[in-house]
């Protein structure tokens, strides 16, 4: 472009114009450098600095609060000492078993449902497809609370029912088995998403060819279908493993009473020690980050490896297996799943929230209206912290969405639509948080800011910045999709018409990308208000947020108030997601599926 302008100027032959062209080009070069540098500086502030501090924290044995900020006694020994700690081994082992078992169950459920939905004539497939995705919208912490109400060994509602009928069997969700089952049923959608779309995009003639060749339906499934969607299965498996590994709410609720520590709960326990073991926590966080990073890298490689899914010349509808009477069995599976992941937990929360005492003597007592009241809600809102936590959460959410959205747009545009120097580096740094669990971001921000007097620590800004950093890859990805849909020639046409770069962005790109920008911001808002892992380390009593307070109530042991607050949060989230969906026509919902 610039060279063309100069060439044009010289053919006209006006020496003055030529000189001006050269001068303007010099200013533009400087402007580009300033812009790249600015983005890199912000990214350093958001991502590089906290992660670097986390690394330093792992290599020291000082406490940034007690010993002051710059006092590091760096030594690899601190890190190796942590590696030899048997408690760390136990937490790592438990994490692997829980996530491994949970993933296996999730693959079984996800693959079964994707086959049912895409490849069979089961009735109400639209309904089943929706049911398979619902768990993504249930906040993990609330799900865990609901299941502790349902299946705690002594007072769990299911166990109470079993006692009524004199059945001598008790469920205990406070065990490794319980953790695995809850992980498995709530993270099955990750596997489902990948495998269902792979099955849908597979050319059915690949299977028909096997049938013609003489293979039976089962044989075709195992020799052709599953091998072909293997990349999707592996990718979904790795993703659900990674998400389970980084989640805090579920193991905190279920693993703590039964003493099943995993990496995330162990890290938090370390920072709650007296005195807090910040450096040990940093070391364990590094371990968690390395495992996660490796798995994410593996997943990206599987995704980017040459896909087996071939594109056929004509549109196709997937071949459908006629199940006969078995189709009512497959429908039944879906109904049971809906019951277990949504209906039963919701009922449990509702009963616990409105019932004065959770103990239920018999069936008559369950329906005795005198046993129900609003007392738990009244007591919840008597505590000023409850209202404040809701306001704080909204405030953090709005700040995160606005600042994060604008910043992500700047990065997305720079990376996808310009040829600025340094944009590759910007892209790489902005993608790093994908491989960092929320809880690790929390620890990193803690290390980065806690020792600095008068800094960010203790304000809602540290929460917002941590969330912006944590969800940056998801936001940029959501935005890039809508940016890439705007054809490059639309911008070039504006340039030819004489608009400058910034003018083009303002008059062409932004108006066209607006639905994408709005849906990315609402996505960011919703992700921020339900985030628990990174908030844990960054809140103070003034900046308490909903998810953390809920966990406090749960750990305080008051089931009624916990259930009431869970209900309040769930309804609030449902309303907000509903509004967001209306605003962005489904964009935010899709985003949550990807970003969870």
């Amino acid at each position: 472009m610039a060279a063309d302008t100069t060439a044009l100027a010289s053919t006209i032959g006006a020496a003055g114009t030529e000189a001006e062209g050269v001068r303007r080009e010099r200013w533009r070069t400087i402007g580009r450098m300033v812009w790249s540098t600015l983005l890199l500086l912000i990214l350093t502030f958001l991502v590089v600095y906290p992660v670097a501090m986390l690394l330093l924290g792992a290599l020291t044995n000082t406490n940034p609060v007690v010993d002051g900020f710059g006092a590091f006694h760096l030594s690899l020994k601190n890190f190796t000492t942590v590696l030899e700690n048997p408690n760390v081994h136990l937490a790592l082992f438990n994490s692997m078993v829980a996530c491994g078992g949970g993933t296996a169950l999730a693959v079984l459920i996800g693959l079964t449902f994707s086959w049912i939905v895409v490849r069979t004539d089961t009735p109400f497939k639209g309904f089943i497809s929706a049911v398979s995705m619902i768990p993504l919208f249930v906040p993990p912490l609330v799900a865990a609370v609901a299941w502790s109400i349902l299946a705690s060994p002594k007072s769990g509602l299911i166990n109470t029912f079993l006692k009524w009928f004199d059945i001598d069997w008790r469920f205990d969700v406070y065990t490794m088995g319980g953790l695995i089952v809850i992980f498995g049923i709530y993270y099955a959608p990750y596997v489902y998403m990948f495998t269902a779309s792979a099955l849908r995009n597979m050319d059915p003639s690949l299977e028909e060819a096997a049938e013609i060749s003489g293979a039976s339906a089962t044989k075709t499934l195992f020799t052709i279908t599953f091998p072909l969607i293997a990349p999707a299965i592996i990718s979904g498996t790795l993703l659900s493993f990674v998400v389970m590994l980084g989640i805090y709410g579920i193991p905190a609720v279920l693993g703590t009473p039964g003493d099943v520590p995993v990496l995330t709960t162990y890290i938090f326990k370390l920072t709650n020690w007296s005195p807090p073991l910040y450096s040990t926590a940093a070391s364990v966080a590094i371990i968690l980050m390395i495992v996660t990073g490796f798995l994410v890298w593996l997943q990206q490689r599987v995704i980017s490896a040459k896909s087996y899914i071939t594109v056929a010349g004509k549109a196709f509808r997937p071949g459908v297996t006629r199940l006969g009477h078995w189709r009512y069995f497959t429908l039944g599976l879906a109904v049971i799943y809906l019951f277990v992941v949504v209906i039963l937990p919701t009922l449990a929360i509702v009963v616990a929230a409105f019932r004065k005492f959770l103990f239920i003597r018999n069936v008559a007592s369950l329906f005795d209206m005198k046993q129900y009241s609003l007392i738990h809600f009244e007591r919840l809102f008597e505590n000023p912290l409850a209202m404040r936590s809701i306001w704080n959460t909204m405030e953090v959410g709005v700040v995160t969405a606005l600042v994060g959205g604008v910043f992500a747009f700047a990065i997305g545009y720079t990376v996808n639509r310009t040829n600025l120097g340094g944009r590759k580096v910007i892209d790489v740094i902005a993608t790093i948080p994908v491989a960092i669990p929320g809880l690790v971001i929390g620890v990193a921000y803690l290390w980065a800011w806690i020792g600095l007097p008068g800094g960010l620590y203790g304000t809602i800004w540290i929460l917002a910045l941590a969330f912006i950093a944590r969800f940056m890859p998801d936001t940029i990805k959501a935005l890039s999709t809508s940016l890439l849909q705007i054809h490059r020639e639309l911008e070039e046409a504006a340039w030819i018409c004489g608009k400058g770069m910034l003018g083009t962005i303002r008059t062409i790109v932004l108006p066209l990308a607006r639905p994408g920008v709005i849906s990315a911001m609402t996505l960011l808002f919703i992700l921020a208000i339900r985030e628990l892992g990174s908030s844990l380390f960054l809140y103070t009593s003034n900046t308490m947020v909903m998810a953390v307070l809920l966990l406090d109530y749960y750990e305080g042991g008051n089931v009624g108030i916990t259930a009431a607050f869970s209900l309040v949060q769930t309804i609030l989230l449902a309303v907000l997601i509903g509004v967001a969906n209306l605003m962005s026509r489904g964009g935010a919902g899709d985003g949550i599926k990807q970003a969870n």
Binding site: S205, E208, A209, A210, I212, I224, L228, K306, G313, G319
Partner: protein, 369 residues
């Protein structure tokens, strides 16, 4: 081991719309290649898939050799894997997670053939399709044309009674399509298998088929050898679809046997062949292929000789297309040769041989109106 295919009164009705196949009947002799030709949506692929067993017919009977494989009236439906047919798909459908040899060996494995036999049969058929040296390659490393050869080898390796080909060349680029087209016929004839071939490309149909069946809207309009199809189309649609793009309105003055006199829009009369149903006094459409309009013929006593004017000349390198004003309408004429003989506006005499000039009832639906 090739067998005849017999289709009687085949009907296929999907949940919505008109029948995809409407009362289709035809027979393919053992060892014969029949091509189903027609525009998209005419039911040719559905017919093929019914024969394969991938689609379930609503009515009618399909027999391969002595076995009835589909007869809904008797609730009889043999699954695809037991029909012993081979099929080549438009999208190749070679399995990308296997090598060339593994792809080709797959049907033999389902038939419990011993591994020594598998090896020799795979090698033999790969030699036939010209991929002898590619056995160990992963199939995704091959080009589109080679993949389609793998698919062909896979469908021939177990010597099926019947080979079904569903637009096997339409995903390939033009040059490759021509080469593979000739190879396909040679290989099919060499293996002596009965074949049903589906395409929308008339050139492909002519080269490949012993007989061609033209379909439209689920109905089989005509099934004949390609020479018959090109010279005696049964109706205006078949004539148009196989390339007779010139149509002129007219009226039958008198009829003598297979031929009759037709009055053109200009008032001039010409002699044309007409199907038995056409009667004197009836309005007709005259169809002529551009290739059959002869330009500047010297002899004066030939029938159907008319004066014409070149309205536009389109030079295409190896051939020239002339848009002519003649008989009170527009006619296109095509002449081979690199040197165009007439310029825009030139007067030229044309001759349309009566046997290559067909008058069909005017109410028949044509492809090009």
């Amino acid at each position: 081991m090739s067998a005849e295919l017999k289709i009687e009164n085949l009907r296929k009705q999907f949940s919505v719309g008109r029948p995809a196949i409407d009362d289709g009947s035809f027979r393919i002799e053992a060892g014969e290649i029949v091509v189903l030709l027609g525009p998209s949506g005419c039911g040719k692929t559905t017919t093929l898939r019914c024969v394969a067993g991938l689609e379930h017919p609503t009515d009618g009977r399909i027999s391969i050799g002595h076995d009835i494989v589909s007869d809904p009236a008797r609730k009889l439906l043999v699954p695809p894997r037991l029909r012993n047919v081979g099929m080549v798909f438009q999208s190749y459908a070679v399995w990308p997670h296997m090598t060339v040899a593994q792809n080709v060996a797959y049907p033999l494995k389902q038939r419990k053939v011993s591994s020594a036999d598998i090896e020799s049969k795979v090698a033999e058929v790969l030699e036939v399709v010209g991929l002898g040296e590619y056995a160990k390659r992963p199939v995704v490393s091959l080009s589109g044309g080679q993949m389609q050869r793998v698919a062909l080898a896979r469908s021939l390796v177990y010597k099926p009674q019947l080979l079904l080909l569903d637009e096997p060349l339409s995903n390939l680029d033009a040059k490759l399509r021509l080469r593979l087209r000739d190879d396909l016929r040679r290989i099919i004839k060499q293996t002596d298998v009965t074949a049903l071939y589906v395409t929308h490309d008339q050139a492909e149909a002519v080269v490949l088929g012993d007989r061609i069946g033209v379909m439209r809207d689920g109905k089989l309009l005509q099934m004949a050898s390609s020479v018959d199809l090109y010279n005696r189309p049964s109706d205006l649609f078949v004539a148009n679809f196989t390339g007779a793009s010139n149509t002129l309105g007219g009226k039958v003055i008198e009829r003598n046997g297979d031929y009759g006199k037709v009055q053109a829009p200009s008032g001039q009369t010409l002699t044309a062949w007409m199907p038995p149903s056409v009667k004197a006094g009836e309005a007709v459409k005259i169809a002529v292929r551009p290739e059959n309009v002869q330009l500047g013929v010297d002899a004066t006593s030939v029938p159907n000789r008319f004066a014409a004017k070149v309205a536009a000349q389109h030079y295409q390198g190896v051939q020239t297309i002339y848009e002519l004003s003649a008989l009170g309408g527009k006619l296109e004429a095509l002449e081979l040769g690199t040197h165009p003989r007439y310029a825009d506006g030139a007067d030229v005499d044309i001759v349309i041989p009566p046997s290559l000039c067909w008058a069909f009832p005017a109410d028949e639906k044509a492809v090009i109106e």
